[in-house]
Amino acid sequence: MASSNTAVGVRLPSAPRGRWRWLGGTKGVDLIARLVTLLAALSVLVVTVWLVVDLWQKSSLPRHQFGFRFLVDRVWDPVFGHFGALPFVYGTLVTSAVAMVISIPLGVGAAIFLAELAPRGLSDTLTFFIELLAAVPSVVFGVVGVFVVVPWVRTSFGPLLKDVLGFTPLFQGPDYGVGFLTAGLVLSIMVLPFIVSISREVLLSVPVELREGALALGSTKWESTWKVVVPTARTGILGSIFLALARALGETMAVTMVIGNTPKIVASLFSPGYSIAAVIANEFTEATGDLYLQSLVELGLVLFGVTLVLHALARLLVSATAQKARGAV
């Protein structure tokens, strides 16, 4: 039928001569392709599960020996085989807290300007630069931190803070330049782009109708932004903050280079300290004995667990806001 008097005047064979006919036509190829790509997709799952299981198994010694005390014991003494992670947990929390105190107002303010007040062209250009900041390798921040921020904190910023806020326990004692404050400063710059870029997008997703409604009632631009748009986007902005926090907690190189690497728990931000990621980076290759090494692995597991929870929360909040904004239209 098909071979006679064809539509285009060329005689064609009527039976398909596929290269894969031995597989029963395209069905076979499709099946193989589906299986092969499925395996590739599953590799992501396999690696993730493998990572969790591996870390869990390879940190069993300290879990059995110290249990939950591992996290609240303040003595880290490899020589006597006694491992308590509190100084590192403390350092991680303090540096991240400093970073968030600086980057939240700065980031949210910038996002509000970029989403609501700036003309679109300017906003896009500035956002482009801010997002590029996220691409800067952390070791580069470390270099700038060591050679520029540390001396600046020691000679200018530290003394200034001491003059103004020296009466609080946070800014007392000698300032070496390296320490919680410097690490927090560097971290705040590193996580800033995450807050700005995601908060801006969340703000932009707030429907125009809401803004117009507020403006039509006689609100100023700022009032419509602060009283209508920002509250609508609140959960999404919170999500961006969680994401930034997860970044700050897990950040390794820049912190390692400027925190001073001294396991201490003191109130002063001028004091050198230590963080979870930094102690892993510094001691992992030198760790002698299974208990020492496994204690470091357990620290990694702790870090992983914390960032995992924060990350999941962040995603949830951002997508919840996106849905709310869509529902509002």
Partner: protein, 282 residues
């Protein structure tokens, strides 16, 4: 070549509401009709629990142009996509009833074979991101129909068949995306013709085109009609009246009326058809 010139000469005539040459040749009901190419009996169609086609029965005549008209959402496109089982890309979609291509059940044919015999042209021109040549050669290559010099010849014949050859013969290796909208749609037709389909389904092929490109496509349909059965879904009643031998009117999932075009447009049997055609419809 000949086809192109002949078609071009017809531009003005084809804009008349009645078919130019064959208007008189349209058979009176029941007499010398062409063979039945597609036979539908009580075809139902469901998206999940929702029924969108109810008991469609029709005889589509071989080497004739059949137009399907009706308001949006009436099921005409769904029926079209049932004929080459394009609906299978959608989950939970299923068709029931009897639908025959010649004597083969469409629901039983192997998908590649069915789609080789039943080609389709879509509403929006959809050239692949490849060269013009590779677009047309796509089907023959998939089905292993031709290669080398024969493939080149086949591509040329298909492009001629779609009245596009003269415009692209010097730029076959250029990206198909560089063509204009009307040219892209004729390329889609050439691509469909290259695997020598017995039936060609056209889903509102002119809705994204300007009037001049539309006229070109319509001329083209008359030259293709001699070689394969055409079914065209259209919103444009004037277009149906211009090109179709037979017309079916769909309304709310039912084929209300199916007859030769002249009858449908002059003396429709059903009140709904008349209302729709005269524009009185909702």
């Amino acid at each position: 070549m000949i086809a192109t010139d002949a078609a071009r000469a017809n531009v003005t005539e084809n804009l008349n509401p009645e078919r130019p040459q064959e208007a008189a040749a349209v058979p009176e009901t029941g007499k010398t009709q062409a063979a039945v190419k597609i036979k539908a009996r009580n075809v139902d169609f469901f998206y999940g629990a929702k029924q969108v086609l109810q008991g469609i029965s029709a005889d589509i005549r071989e080497r004739k142009i059949t137009a399907l008209i009706g308001p949006s959402g009436c099921g005409k496109t769904t029926f079209l996509r049932t004929i080459n089982r394009m609906y299978e890309t959608v989950k939970h979609a299923r068709a029931e009833g009897e639908l025959l291509l010649d004597s083969d059940s469409i629901f039983d044919l192997a998908l590649p074979n069915l789609r080789r015999r039943v080609g389709m042209v879509f509403q929006k021109p959809n050239p692949f991101p490849k060269s013009i040549f590779d677009n047309v050669a796509y089907g023959p290559r998939v089905h292993g129909l031709a290669n080398g010099a024969r493939l080149t010849e086949l591509v040329e014949q298909s492009l001629r068949g779609a009245a596009l050859w003269d415009e692209v013969k010097d730029s076959l290796q250029k990206s198909a995306l560089s063509l204009s909208g009307g040219q892209q749609q004729r390329l889609s037709i050439a691509r469909a013709l290259a695997i020598d389909p017995e039936v060609l389904l056209l889903d509102e092929p002119c809705s994204a085109l300007d009037p001049i490109s539309t006229a070109k496509i319509e001329e083209l349909l008359f030259t293709i009609e001699n070689r394969c059965t055409l079914i065209i879904v259209t919103h444009n009643m004037a277009q149906a009246a211009r090109v179709a031998d037979y017309t079916g009117f769909f309304l709310m999932g039912k084929l209300v009326e199916f007859n030769d075009t002249k009858t449908i447009f002059t003396t429709p049997a059903r009140k709904e058809t008349e209302d729709y055609i005269t524009g009185r419809f909702g």
